[in-house]
Symmetry: C2
Subunit: 206 residues, 2 copies
């Protein structure tokens, strides 16, 4: 096994273990047992559980960024629905890792995990600005988009706590509707804050 | 000076110093100089800057909770405007402390400061539920209210970064409008999620 494959195997074992308990409760022995490797091998790759947690949470953050890529064409609402489906799929599969990533009070919270969360947020806001044709958003537009991302995060936490009620598709549609309602309030107040919801320049210029 | 008064004096000196620089950059010597006390006296009250930071940020969190109390009568939008004015006033006076409170990656973030932030959030959501006549909110209602609180927090961070543009009263009105738009989306989807926006039961029953 290459070093990269071995590292990925340990990350994957950690993510599997997070399915049954929260990251704080996963110990080095649990990982070595699940991956069927020695402690010595574990410590060749990671200095300890904290480093493995950061790597595992980082892989979830990367997967989230990968899955929210907006397609280049179609209306904004259908693009958003697709992106949110991807987001909710990843969060659903890695719910404990996602909660740990967001819970700043958690044992595994570090400057690094916070930077990952900020990276996902900034990525989504940037995507929305590009897609909406506002490369240089006004303060109210930026508040609207960052606020909507915060709504997505907060809703997902409530959704996971509430045993995934309502259904994922309903949560997705509700989130899309919320963004449009929020953008509507902003445009009414800020005439420069027009946001393009028609097929994107990217899509139509091809 | 009583011990309580001395403690309050040191907290107040710390909050004043946060006006010019962020909490991470305030040292014990800065506080003892500003309060004109000896290092020995400082250490009689606090084990170090971290404990003083927590006490100072806690006093800001308490002030926020104190200022968002909704009056018992009037329409929900006028009540919210009053509560937000109070919130934005406290945040405006203690902007660095507020940013430090919210920035989970900051040096002064601890389980204690996170619990304070959660306390302010829960308090606002509870108030809104009581005021809106929904003591037992549905998951979508809870997502709407928590999401709006997240919008308030995120907007305030953008607002402080953007040199307080737009004007405070415009930010306040925009936030009230956003809550109504968000509640509107939720009611359309969730017929049980009716939220009372007329003068509250509390107010009218007197």
């Amino acid at each position: 096994m290459t070093p990269e494959a071995r590292r990925a195997q340990l990350v994957s074992a950690a993510l599997d273990l997070y399915g049954a308990r929260s990251p704080e409760e996963v110990a080095v022995e649990d990982v070595t047992r699940a991956a069927d490797v020695s402690r010595a091998l574990f410590y060749r790759y990671f200095s300890g559980m904290e480093e493995l947690h950061v790597a595992a949470l980082g892989s979830v953050a990367e997967e989230l960024i990968g899955r929210v890529a907006l397609p280049a064409d179609g209306s904004l609402d259908s693009q958003l629905a697709d992106a949110l489906d991807g987001f909710l799929d990843v969060v659903g599969r890695h719910s404990r890792a996602y909660v740990a990533l967001l819970r700043s009070g958690s044992v595994v919270s570090t400057g690094e995990t916070d930077a990952m969360v900020d990276g996902v947020r900034d990525h989504i806001v940037d995507l929305l600005c590009v897609r909406g044709g506002v490369p240089d958003p006004t303060p109210l537009q930026l508040m609207t988009l960052r606020g909507w991302v915060a709504l997505v995060e907060g809703s997902v936490l409530v959704w996971l706590e509430a045993s995934r009620v309502p259904a994922r598709s309903e949560l997705r549609d509700w989130l899309v509707e919320q963004l449009f309602a929020m953008l509507g309030v902003t445009v009414a107040r800020d005439p420069d804050a027009q946001f393009s919801t028609t097929p994107s320049a990217l899509g139509t210029s091809r």
